[in-house]
């Protein structure tokens, strides 16, 4: 999908007065509105929704995937994909559990989990960068199968668990009244958001996503940045593994299946365009809470799984179409104006 870029865009935008309508038509504000609508809907559907305990306890159920959403925003802005994240979660989790079972102290096992995830991500990054003919989709498709395969070789059909009770506190614990997982997530979200929007690295990521050749020729170390981003995806998958394993108290090689598509759904709903170079972190964060609480609210009235599937699918499609229609109308208007000017 190509977009015509008005060559005079910069000058026009700078000289335009602040338009309230334009400000609020941004994708992220639409997400906020959607989020409020969802909450309104949930409150009307079930008396159990607007309950402090419920709102609080629903968070761990969808926040564990949210850790992967953060680096995935970077990856998609880069114009790449990573569908191996679920398998990295599984492998990191399995290695940690096995190490603990074999006598390693839990703290070290946690460190090992993060290390394994990071290495997996690095592996992805290096192959993608060394073999530019290959798209990230196929590389991560292969590594998705390989990483989970290693998890199966290690743990076979067993479960591993019996972790110390402080580990359980990761996913189930609170700091005061706030779930620990929310605090950790917000810290990471702020970190990733700051890097993306306030550092040179973030700007370079956008540049690569917009035009990788131009970025390379302007001196940006594209390869290094790509490896870094994929490594961070591996690391955050390991973080997810920590929280997921803590939530289940045990692990198997088949955990976290299907996570990659759910994460991509959240990122895409958050306004990050898969054609690269566009999107904001806050959008993805909003999408996480949006989908999470929507599922929670619908689950409280026991909507059957098949209907829930349809609703989420429609939400995704409609949410993306609405601004497109708006944008197309504006584009048609501009087109009409230019025609009148005789261009």
């Amino acid at each position: 999908m190509t977009r015509e870029k008005n060559p005079n865009a910069t000058t026009v935008e700078l000289s335009q007065p602040f338009s309230l309508a334009k400000f609020f038509f941004q994708w992220e504000w639409m997400l906020v509105v959607l989020f409020l609508l969802v909450n309104l809907l949930n409150v009307n559907l079930s008396p159990y929704y607007l309950n402090f305990d419920n709102l609080k306890d629903a968070l761990p159920t969808f926040l564990d995937k949210a850790f992967i959403v953060l680096p995935m925003v970077f990856i998609i802005i880069l114009g790449e994909f990573d569908i191996s994240v679920g398998s990295i979660v599984a492998l990191s989790s399995v290695v940690m559990a096995l190490a603990f079972q074999m006598g390693l102290p839990m703290e070290a096992a946690v460190g090992l989990c993060l290390l394994v995830g990071t290495l997996c991500g690095m592996f992805n990054g290096i192959i993608i960068v060394k073999f530019k003919e290959l798209s990230a989709v196929i590389v991560t498709l292969a590594t998705m199968i390989i990483f989970r395969g290693i998890a199966y070789i290690l743990l076979e059909d067993q479960a591993a668990g019996h972790f110390p009770s402080w580990f359980k506190g990761l996913s189930w614990g609170y700091v005061g009244d706030v779930p620990t997982i929310l605090i950790v997530f917000l810290v990471f979200a702020l970190l990733f958001g700051w890097v993306l929007h306030k550092t040179a690295l973030g700007r370079r990521v956008y540049a690569i996503g917009n035009n990788v050749t131009a970025a390379r020729f302007s001196g940006i170390k594209v390869d290094r940045i790509k490896v870094l981003i994929f490594t961070s995806a591996g690391f955050m998958s390991a973080v997810t593994a920590l929280f997921l394993t803590s939530r289940m108290g045990s692990t198997r090689p088949n955990v976290a299946s299907g996570y990659e598509l759910e994460v991509i759904t959240m990122v895409v709903l958050g306004g990050v365009s898969t054609s690269g170079g566009k999107g904001r972190l806050i959008g993805a964060v909003l999408a996480v809470f949006l989908i999470g609480y929507l599922r929670n609210g619908l689950g409280l009235i026991n909507v059957p799984a098949q209907v829930l599937l349809i609703i989420i699918g429609l939400l995704l499609v409609v949410a993306v179409m609405v601004p497109n229609l708006q944008w197309n109308k504006k584009r048609a208007l501009r087109h009409g104006e230019r025609k009148k000017e005789g261009k």
């Binding site: 992220e28 906020v32 989020f35 409020l36 909450n39 079930s46 008396p47 159990y48 929704y49 607007l50 309950n51 402090f52 305990d53 419920n54 709102l55 306890d57 629903a58 159920t61 969808f62 076979e156 059909d157 479960a159 668990g161 359980k168 996913s171 189930w172 702020l190 958001g193 997921l244 939530r247 289940m248 108290g249 045990s250 692990t251 198997r252 090689p253 088949n254 955990v255 976290a256 299946s257 299907g258 806050i282 909003l286 809470f289 599922r295 929670n296 689950g299 409280l300 026991n302 059957p304 799984a305 098949q306 829930l308 599937l309």
Partner: protein, 335 residues
Amino acid sequence: MKRLFPKVLVALMVLGFLGVGTVSAAPLKYAIIFKNTGNPYGEKEMEGFKNAAKELGVEAILKAPDQPTAEAQIQMIQELIAQKVSVIAMVANDYDALQPALEKAKAAGIKVLSLDSAVNAASRQVHINQADPERIGRVEVQAIVQMIGGKGEIAVLSATSQASNQNLWIDWMKTELKDPKYKDVKLVKVAYGDDLRDKSVSEMEGLLKSYPNLKGVIAPTTVGIAAAGKVITDKKLKGKVHLTGLGLPSEMAEYIQSGVCEWMYLWNPLDVGYLAGYAADALVKGTITGKAGDKFKAGKLGNKVVIADGDGTQVMLGDPFKFDAKNIADWKKVY
């Protein structure tokens, strides 16, 4: 933007405090969570549970995720805790992974039991077992050995490698085979079809290729046994390769009527769900606490007693039911 969101959340929470306690008294809610949706066997179990709930005058909540994962079931447990149900009956996708979530439910005063596919003893108060796993394992071996005439090679086509009930039954099958009277029977392989139609077919075809002298296959899984039946039919191996296992009468009617599978076993999932419903009620009313020796009445199924089961306890539905050419016509319409 980032500053707006926490304010919104806080506002909602304040409203929440105002809203607490306005839920009026309603009929008790009994909930059941199955493994996945779109599964006719699961539908029947949930239907049995619902029938029991109706007889008992309580509301039944039936839940099943679209993917057979533990993570999805944990989410559902959370939703049920928020709805303040009285009891959760669990058909687990994972033996251990639901423990923390179910312990939280128990801490909230919700009674927990499992049925069909068990959770570990720490997660539940009692387990409803459709049939003694030892009986299932042994009777399957006895059946296939009878079909192949006492000697030859046999194989097992299972579901996923982590299904705890599958592994339990297979272990009992191996135990049965240690008996000296099976000295001429050899179990050559346990293959995993993952309950996927296409993979089960590939694995079955692989078994036939790798072991040309294979005489019998035990497939204790509904998808596996139907896939094996189709492969034997298509390759016209009826009579040369015998088949038994656990299967849905509707799926296997074709192969039983044609003789490809001379007989097979299962149990009535309606009864399993129904028994679970009454056991749930007994737990809620305090008639039983889940320790061995407890007795309760399970509606049409009569009196049931809780017995020991490893670290935990269970209630037995009965013996596996045999389906053959004589009765398949009656049962294929039921489930």
